[in-house]
Symmetry: C2
Subunit: 406 residues, 2 copies
């Protein structure tokens, strides 16, 4: 007897048969006496096809129009699921973003949820409806359709769970939980039973693409337990919870890797106040997202500045940096496209020194050179040569005692 929000991703609704599978799972949860709200993504591949259609229509499609186009993907899956549930004898209704009043700002393509009017949802639940909500979409104050960005359906799910004060938000996907590392490159990786919001936030932003990062922030803010699990089996997945929930105490919970970054370095930049702004403003104005930034103070009032950007923006970032280098009087611009970032993450490391030295020593033993280092409270990241990625993940996984028992 709980209020359960279930979110199914694109691979879980990829075709009619899989949607039928979802219908059965939803029905089972409902039959157990729960109130159920379902959030769906578009069929996998559909959003990309729509984007490609838009690009045939216009080189740089208007963002308002693109959002209204993309919103059709979820509209399709929710109506199909609702039809199935109704034909199975359940009361069900599909609801679009504007119908349940998911109000967002007007930042098309990457809109942020301002509020959700939970009244309409509650009325439907009181009448024992299974409510099937379109993920990824909302509308702004002027009634324009907006979308929440890649993976936005996760955020829809968690936000609706928060608005309804749901007991749990189940995120169904094509993996069966959160792993200590990517099982494809680390055969000894194992599924975590629990993980904290903060660890998950670091995981999500570092290449473990299980949950959209914003959804985790939302879950943390409203303390919504998130259950990440597979839509293809009945196994328990991973619970994402707050720290005090009596979890297994690991120092490091996972090792992640990210091959999607490239590195740019400006050498011998005059080290004076305001120089960082001069360097990074043109990059950010070009819409390029900078991840890690490292600056070493050097002698003679000169410093080296290194930062990472998405590989897709590498060339543009280099070009802009060369102009900037001239303007600020830097010596030269170096770049490297063949890098990867490996990170170890764990709330446990807050209270344990020595995690960094274990990490550096482990990489050193394999002759893996560390090009950049970045840290946060619960994370240490190293930039290394791309070719060592898999090796680095495996040896770190072992070094921090994460390997599954044979």
């Amino acid at each position: 007897m709980a209020l359960v929000v279930q979110k199914f991703g694109g691979t879980s609704v990829a075709n009619i048969e899989r949607i039928r599978n979802v219908a059965q799972r939803v029905a089972k949860t409902y039959d157990q006496g729960n109130d159920v709200v379902v959030i769906l993504s578009a069929m996998s591949g559909v959003t990309d096809s729509l984007i490609s259609l838009a690009q045939q229509a216009a080189e740089d499609p208007d963002k308002r129009e693109l959002d209204a186009l993309l919103a059709t993907g979820e509209q399709t899956t929710i109506t199909l699921l609702a039809m199935m549930l109704i034909s199975m004898g359940y009361k069900a209704q599909s609801m679009l973003g504007h119908q349940i009043e998911v109000v967002t700002d007007s930042d098309y393509g990457n809109a942020r949820i301002i509020e959700i009017n939970s009244k309409r949802l509650q009325q439907l639940l009181e009448k024992k409806n299974i409510v099937v909500v379109a993920g990824f979409q909302g509308y702004d104050m002027k009634g324009n359709i907006t979308t929440l960005g890649r993976g936005g359906s996760d955020t829809s799910g968690v936000a609706i769970a928060a608005a309804l004060k749901a007991d749990v938000c189940e995120i169904y996907t094509d993996v069966d939980g959160v792993y200590t590392a990517d099982p494809n490159i680390c055969p000894k990786a194992r599924k975590l039973k629990t993980i904290t919001y903060d660890e998950m936030l670091n995981m999500a932003s570092l290449g473990a693409k299980v949950l959209q990062i914003r959804s985790v922030g939302f879950a943390k803010k409203y303390n919504i337990p998130v259950h990440v699990r597979s839509s293809f089996n009945e196994e328990e997945g991973t619970m994402v919870v707050s720290e005090d929930s009596g979890m297994e105490q690991l120092i490091v919970s996972g090792v992640t890797h990210d091959k999607k970054q490239a590195r740019v370095t400006l050498t011998k930049v005059p080290d004076q106040p305001g120089i960082a702004a001069k360097v990074f403003s043109p990059i950010s104005e070009a819409g390029i997202i900078v991840d890690m930034i490292i600056q070493n103070t050097r002698k003679e009032g000169k410093t080296d500045m290194t930062f990472t950007v998405p590989k897709g923006d590498y060339k543009r970032a280099l070009e802009i940096s060369k102009k900037v280098a001239q303007q600020v009087g830097a010596e030269e611009v170096l770049g490297d496209n063949n890098i990867a970032m490996v990170s170890v993450i764990g709330v446990g490391m807050k209270n344990h020194s020595g995690v960094a030295s274990v990490m550096f020593n482990t990489l050193a033993r394999e002759n893996i050179n560390i090009m950049m280092i970045g840290t946060s409270e619960i994370r240490i990241s190293c930039v290394i040569e791309e070719k060592y990625t898999e090796l680095a993940v495996r040896v770190l996984h072992t070094a921090f005692g994460l390997d599954a028992e044979e």
Copy 2:
């Protein structure tokens, strides 16, 4: 300097190239100094694919959900057209049914427009936007998405033209106007420059599928000039106008045919008050639409009742009629699936006797047997054997002086 509503059907927006063609035509109208509102259908074939998808999801898809699914078709075309116009340098915005507040009743799949809030449209036009509106869709008082039935985009176009008091509603389609008969079977058919709303109403309901019949009713009610023309050339099409608009005075404006009906006859029905209700109530309760009904009084208190139904409902209508025949004590039920209806239509016939006799004599000369006759103020229809359809249309076309000059 006029307010022009342009509606483009499914074949006119069948793919990106054709939508580009539409964009150019719309831009041209705008460049001539007009305010332009564009109404689009879904790409041809898309609505059918969506229906088939729904039928894979549920044998008898829930109507509310089906409408929300079908509405995605128009959402796709309007956003693509708006993107194109914007990329061509125009101000444009797509608008969905609920965004311009096309309020309908809740008769899903066949909803009727109650009102349109023209304010939002007018604001957009004042700011010199080209407004691209989704045809076929509206929403009911509760915010549910509704659709207006097959060809509903025509009705959307005319209704929006009426709400805005537009100067003209141009209906772009894959034919270049309204013809005196179907050119495929009557090579001498010619395009009409003008036709009255009433004639068009009769044409539309009798198998000349140029305009959805409800759209013509709307146009007549609000006296909106409708210009039916081709989206594939620049030629003038046919203007649908009220009678007093100084038109060419033809006695008969067109010959139509309809092969989609079947005939059912109950013989020797006891001729007593209430008998017609007993016969037709079960048919109508089964959702079967009866078109023509003929009843001849016969001797000995018995009568024959004949009616036509869509061919797709023929078997069911026969079965129901057999039960009814037993209940009311009719002799037997006869049926015929191989019939067609040919009609001559024209406001001119109101004031001219002799149209009926010309029609009957013309058919008689070709040895075409007339099985049923029905008339209205501006129409005479005869049911004949299906195999004579084309011949009948041609000889009537000639007999009423409609043939194009060689």
